[in-house]
Structure formats: C-alpha cells, structure tokens
C-alpha cells in the first residue's frame, strides 16, 4: 500500500504539478493566439515575442520596486509590477496595429500576408528585446521559494518520496484560473465582450448591427497584450527569463490552440493542458514508479522513458499532426469565441 502511495506521490510531484503549471502558461498563451485568430483572423507568430516583451517590462518594474524596497513577500514582487508590463505590451501592440496591421486590414489582405507581417514583427520585437535586456538569463523571482518542500512533506507523512509545491507553481495556477474566469466573464457577460464575439462570429452582420470594428480590434489587442504579459511573466517566474525560450514556446502554443480548435477560448485552455500533460508524461522516466508498483525486488534496467527529454517539442508536434489528420477543426470544433 505504501508503495502505491509512494508511486502516486512521484507521479504528482513530477507530472501532475509541473504539467498543471506549464499547462496554465500554455493555456494563457494559446488564449491570446486564439483571440487574435477569432477577431483578426490570422495566426499571430509575434505572440511569443510579445510575451517576452511584456515580461521584460515587468522585470524592469520588478527591479525598480526592489530598489525602492517594496515587497509583497511571500509573493514574488513581479506580480506587483505586472500592470506595468501589461501596459507596455498593450501600448506596443496598439502601436503595431496602427502602423502595420491597419494598412493590410484596410486592403483586406489575405491571412497569409498577415501571417508574414506578424513574422516581420516577431523579428522586430525579438531584436528589440535582445537589444534592450540582452540575450542572457534573467532571474527575477523573489519571495518564498517553496510553499512546502519535499523534506517537509516526507517528515510530516513519513513516506519515502517527497512532494514539493513551489510558490511559482501555486501562483501560476491560481493566476491562470483568475485570468481565465475574468476572460470568460468579460466575453460572455459584458456588452463589449458580446460585441467581440459577434464580430468574430460574423463580421458583416456585426458591422450592420452598428458594432464599431476599430473598437473591437483595439480591445482585442489590449486583451492579447495583457494575456501575453501574464503568460510570459508566469513562465519567466517559473523557469527563468531567456528571450530565446519564448520563440520555442511558439510551437506548443500553436499546437494548444489548434488542438482545442482555433478561435475557441475554451479549446485553447483545454489544448494547453493536453499539450503540457502529454509533453511531460511522454518524456518522464518511469523507473521509480515501475519499481514501486512492480513486484518486490523487481527493478527495471532502463529509465522506462518513452522519449528523451530533448524531444519535448516533438510531442506537441505529433499531437498537432494527429489532430490535423483526425479532426482538423480541433476538439471543440464549430464554435468560436
């Protein structure tokens, strides 16, 4: 029995908690991609770099607050600086919309052109971020590291295996729940949110009903900037901030959005968790679990790992391919926003 509980603890500690955390980050990222797709109708490749930009501003805010001696310990100071980062990302998004996207929108350019434009912006923002903060690693986490550590857990339960919960993990999951709840409330209950959904559903009909398209577009960018910053900051707090890593997040984020059905917020969230769980579950070495669950004195020679951790990215790609073959419209097909 203890063996079984030990195995469960290992699974929780190394799969469930990290996957919930990573899944929340992906879900928030995918939500931003899906919003752009739903309203503006293109795949926004610049989203990853926008996350990096928002996070960068948040980091500057954090440093400023730390210099002033402001602290909300045990919570990380970055949460306090988040509004600044959001404002930065929103302003940059709106500037890009005015200077770049608007022209192509008025010409009714095809989605592929928008896609290429967003790639141009991706490089621009990427260069900007590396130019300002440099390509190196930035750790901006402060406050308490663990809510409870593996050692505490072992001592209080008497089990062989430990279960740790990092502050960043708890913060990520709770923030994600709050943000998603606020998002759905906004989209479903407020007048502005409804107008956004109407616009996404049928642009012409929405225009006929007197919805102001410029306003809808503006609000979309504001939401997207906010989501990108929150997702990026949570990711940066949990791992560390490296401009390079945000470009690599792009594929899992797109995979998450497509798995759930592009343009569908609920799908984006579900997709985020699907991708995160499969990535971590497929690349986890099950040696310990098998040892606990198997008969006594049985110990596997290998790591019992399906795929090396280096191939994490391949997992999201394979899921993407399966979805494209089996159900190209995603799990929650047919519904947008």
């Amino acid at each position: 029995m203890t063996d079984f509980i030990n195995a469960l603890v290992v699974l929780t500690n190394f799969i469930l908690v990290p996957a919930l955390t990573y899944g929340s980050q992906l879900a928030l990222g995918a939500l931003g991609v899906t919003l752009v797709y739903g309203v503006l109708r293109f795949s926004n490749f610049a989203h990853g770099e926008m996350m990096a930009f928002g996070t960068m501003i948040t980091i500057f805010g954090t440093w400023g607050l730390q210099a002033l001696g402001v602290s909300i310990a045990p919570l990380p100071t970055a949460l306090l600086a988040l509004p600044l980062g959001i404002a930065g990302a929103v302003i940059l998004s709106l500037i890009f919309d005015k200077t770049v996207y608007k022209y192509h929108r008025q010409r009714k350019a095809s989605p592929v052109i928008f896609l290429i434009v967003s790639i141009g912006l991706m490089f621009f923002i990427g260069g900007l971020v590396r130019f300002i903060i440099g390509p190196g690693d930035q750790i901006f986490f402060d406050g308490t590291r663990f809510i409870f550590s593996a050692r505490d857990f072992k001592r209080s339960t008497g089990l062989d295996e430990g279960l740790a919960l990092k502050m960043t993990q708890a913060v990520t999951i709770i923030t994600a729940i709050l943000v998603v709840a606020a998002m759905f409330w906004f989209l479903n209950k407020t007048r502005t949110g409804k107008s956004m959904r109407a616009f996404s559903d049928n642009e012409n009909l929405a225009l006929l009903s007197g919805i102001n398209p410029d306003r809808v577009v503006m609000i979309t960018w504001i939401l997207v900037g906010a989501l990108a910053t929150i997702a990026g900051t949570l990711y940066g707090l949990d791992k560390s901030f490296k401009p390079f890593s945000f470009m690599q997040l792009l594929l899992p984020i797109f995979a998450a959005a497509i798995v759930g059905g592009v343009g569908n917020p609920l799908g984006a969230i579900a997709g985020g968790y699907v991708i995160a769980f499969s990535e971590i579950a497929v690349t986890f070495a099950y040696k310990k679990v098998v040892t606990y669950l198997g008969p006594d004195s049985f110990q596997p020679d290998s790591l019992v790992q399906l795929l090396g951790t280096d191939y994490k990215i391949a997992v999201s790609f394979i899921i993407l391919v399966i979805v494209l073959i089996v159900r190209p419209t995603g799990i929650f097909s047919g519904k947008t926003l």
Binding site: M247, L251, A255, I313, A314
Partner: protein
C-alpha cells in the same frame, strides 16, 4: 521616358548593378572575398528559387526552410563521409534491424488501417495505436543498445556510423530526395486545410529535424559536428604542389597560395552556376508551360480552379514537394561548400526568414526576381555587419570609449540584424509587395 526605359530593361539593369557590387567588393576587399560572397549568393539564390516555387507559383507558406536545408546537409554527410567500420561492426546490425522494424510497423499500420479503418474508425484507431506502440517498443529494444555501442566507438573522432564514402556530388540529388520525402509527409497532413496550418506544421517539422540532427549522434555526431567532408573540387595543398598550377599562377602574376584558394572558389562557383542554370531553365520552362499557368490560376483563385476540374490539393502537394527538394539541394550544396556539417549553425533567421526576405524583395512569382533577391539580400546580409559596426562606432564617437551606452550598443549590434530583417520584411510587404522584378503576367505586358 527614362521610367519606361528602366522598366523595359529592369532585369538586365538590376543584374548589372549586382555584378558591379561584386566587382567593387573584388577590387576593394579582394577577389577571394568576392568569390566567397558569390558562392553563397548562388546557394541563397537556389534556396530562394525553391521558396519561390512554393510561394510565388502556388502561394504556399513554408516556415520550415531551415529543416529542409538541414536535411540536405545531412545527405551530404551520409553520402560522402568514409564509413566507420568499427562502429558498423559494433551496432550496424542492430540499427538496421531497428530501421526494418520501423518500416514494417509503418507498412503494417497502413495495411491495418485499410482493413479495419474503412469499416469502423474506432477499431481502426485502436489497431493503429496497438501496432505503433508494439512496433515502437520492439524497435527500441534493438535500437538503444546498438546506438550506445556506436556512440562508444572512439567518441572524440567518430562515434557515429559514418557515410557511404561516395563522391559528395551524389549527395545533392540525395538531399533533394530527403527534403522531398519530408515535404511529402508534411504536405499530406497539412495541405488542403487552412493556409496557416501549413505554416505551423512546417515550423514544427523544421524544429524537429533539427532536434533529431542534434540528438541522434550515432547518425550525425550531433553537436560535435562532422568536419572534413570530401570535396568535389581540388584541394589547395595539391594545387600548390602541382607544376602546371605553379606555372598558371605565375602567368597571372599571383602568389601560389592565394591563387590556389581563389581557384578552388572559382571551381565551386562554376559548379553552382551549372546547377542554377539548369534549375532556371527548368523552372522558366515549367512556368511558361500550361502547367505553370495552371499553378498560377490555382494560386490566384482556388475556387475557380477547382471548378474547372483542377485538383487543388494534389497540385499543391506536387509543387510543395518540388520546391522543398530544391531547398534540400541547396542545403546539400551549402554543406559541400562549407566542408563541414554544424547542426548548431542552422538558425531560423538565417535559413528560413532571410530566404523569405529574398523572395519577397526579389519579386515573388518571378524566377529572375527570386534569384536576384538571393544575390542582393545575401550581399547586404554579409556586408551589413561591417556597415552596422561602423555606423554605431561613428554615431557614438562623441562618447567616452567606456561609456555604458556605447558599450551596450556595440555589444548589441548583432541583434540589430534581427530587427533589420523584420523591418525590411514589413516595409517590403507594405510599399513594394511586388518586389524588384515583379511577376510577368499577360495583363501587365
């Protein structure tokens, strides 16, 4: 009047300007530098031709140029490097059995899908799942020990299976086949769906190809690189010792060492020019043929073309595979020219998006434009670094040499490339979407 003259001889004038730029570099920085740039210009032009086939003829957006080029580079290694006999003895059989199991698994899954999937999708999926899981487990059983054995063979020098030891020129068609194979799989999955799915799928495949190349050391040596690939042209050392060459260098009034390095580069340039000439002939003929007209008709209006009985998805698949094959060819040529295979060197900016900028600036849909774009953009990409450094240096010359802002700017000059590519792409799409040499259509004639 002048305007029409320029428009009429646009291609010729722009190509002359390009030639002039190269001559200026030759005179200013030395002919060796000029030919280095020219060789890479030629390879870039071939890549850009490949992307132009996909984007210019068919409107397909490939974000995975890097992956296809890397597959070409892999082909160069696998074809040309001498085999490592020890490693083959250690694990060659196991790897072979593993590969056979993989092929058998794929084959059995296809048969099973045709048998069961047609009747009930649910049974089909379960069958597939079981077959693939079993095949995968069986493959790993043979694969992993052999891989370990191979990587243990003299890891600092070899630690991989080596290649076939054939002439490296043969790797060029092999590179085409590799890239075409990958493109076929991706095209099968992503074509016929929404246009951005292809973009995301190709982004994925190129990342995975690179992860594969970096991690599967038994095949590619991974990040340890493969150096000293055989050459299709003579070596400098041999030339320097040959009597006829010493005579030849003396006739031209050059140092033997300098002449030999220049001679090698000219040989490469000659080879590449032959390839690009064949490709240009083929693609120009294809574009003018009824097939080319059909491709452009599909690009401009898929619905109308489908209504006229054209199978849009199949035609897209064809052109996607052909274009990727050309990119693979260029990848193999690039590795041949470098003489080494460095997986870390494959960066999306340089291998995917720079090529895109070449096509868009040059003129999508026009082969001459794409080639010119390849030349122009590569030229400025290489020359931008000295120009950028000089610019920062001049602009900040009034500051103290140790001023933090000046140091920061000097350090970050490299990131300016990222921004510049982005800005160039945005400006081109807005102000000159047709490119330097616009596509020629019946209407515009």
């Amino acid at each position: 009047m002048n305007q029409t003259f320029f428009n009429q001889y646009r291609t010729q004038i722009l190509y002359s300007v390009m030639a002039l730029l190269l001559v200026i570099v030759g005179v200013g920085q030395g002919w060796s530098v000029a030919f280095t740039i020219l060789n890479l210009c030629l390879i870039s032009a071939i890549m850009s031709l490949g992307v132009n086939m996909q984007w210019g003829y068919a409107g397909l957006f490939n974000v995975g140029v890097m992956g296809f080029a890397a597959l070409g580079g892999l082909a160069a290694v696998l074809v040309s490097m001498p085999p490592v006999e020890e490693a083959r003895a250690a694990g060659g059989q196991g790897v072979l059995v593993g590969l056979l199991i993989l092929i058998a698994t794929i084959f059995v899954s296809i048969v099973a899908w045709k048998q069961f999937g047609a009747k009930s999708k649910k049974t089909g999926y379960w069958m597939l799942f079981i077959i693939i899981a079993a095949g995968y487990a069986l493959m790993r059983l043979f694969f992993l020990p052999s891989v370990e054995a191979i990587e243990a063979v003299n890891p600092s020098v070899t630690g991989y299976l080596g290649g076939l030891g054939l002439p490296i020129i043969l790797s060029w068609p092999v590179g085409m086949v590799f890239a075409a194979g990958a493109a076929y799989v991706i095209g099968k999955v992503a074509l016929g769906l929404r246009s951005d799915y292809l973009a995301i799928a190709t982004l994925g495949i190129s990342e995975i190809v690179l992860y594969f190349i970096k991690n599967e050391e038994w095949l590619t040596r991974g990040v340890k690189n493969v150096n000293g690939l055989p050459r299709p042209v003579p070596y400098e050392v041999d030339l320097q010792q040959a009597v006829w060459f010493q005579q030849f260098a003396a006739d031209w009034g050059m140092e033997v060492a300098e002449a030999s390095s220049l001679f090698v580069k000219v040989c490469y340039a000659g080879l590449f020019i032959v390839v690009i000439a064949i490709l240009m002939y083929l693609s120009e003929t294809a574009l003018k043929s009824p097939w080319g007209r059909m491709m452009r008709a599909i690009r401009d209006n898929e619905v109308a073309a489908a209504a006229m009985g054209k199978d849009v998805v199949k035609r897209h698949l064809t052109i996607f595979v052909i274009g990727s094959a050309v990119i693979g060819l260029a990848g193999a040529m690039l590795t041949t020219l470098d003489g080494q295979f460095t997986p870390v060197g494959y960066q999306p900016l340089r291998f995917t998006f720079l090529i895109w900028v070449m096509v868009i600036i040059g003129g999508s849909g026009n082969n001459w434009g794409a080639v010119l774009g390849g030349f122009f953009i590569w030229f400025f990409w290489i020359e931008a670094e000295p120009i950028g450094l000089w610019l920062v240096d001049t602009l900040t010359s009034f500051m103290e040499p140790t001023h933090w802002l000046r140091l920061h700017l000097m350090d970050s000059a490299a990131h300016m490339r990222l921004m510049t590519v982005g800005i160039v792409l945005l400006i081109a799409l807005r102000y000159a979407p047709e490119g330097l040499i616009p596509e020629r259509t019946a209407r515009k004639h």
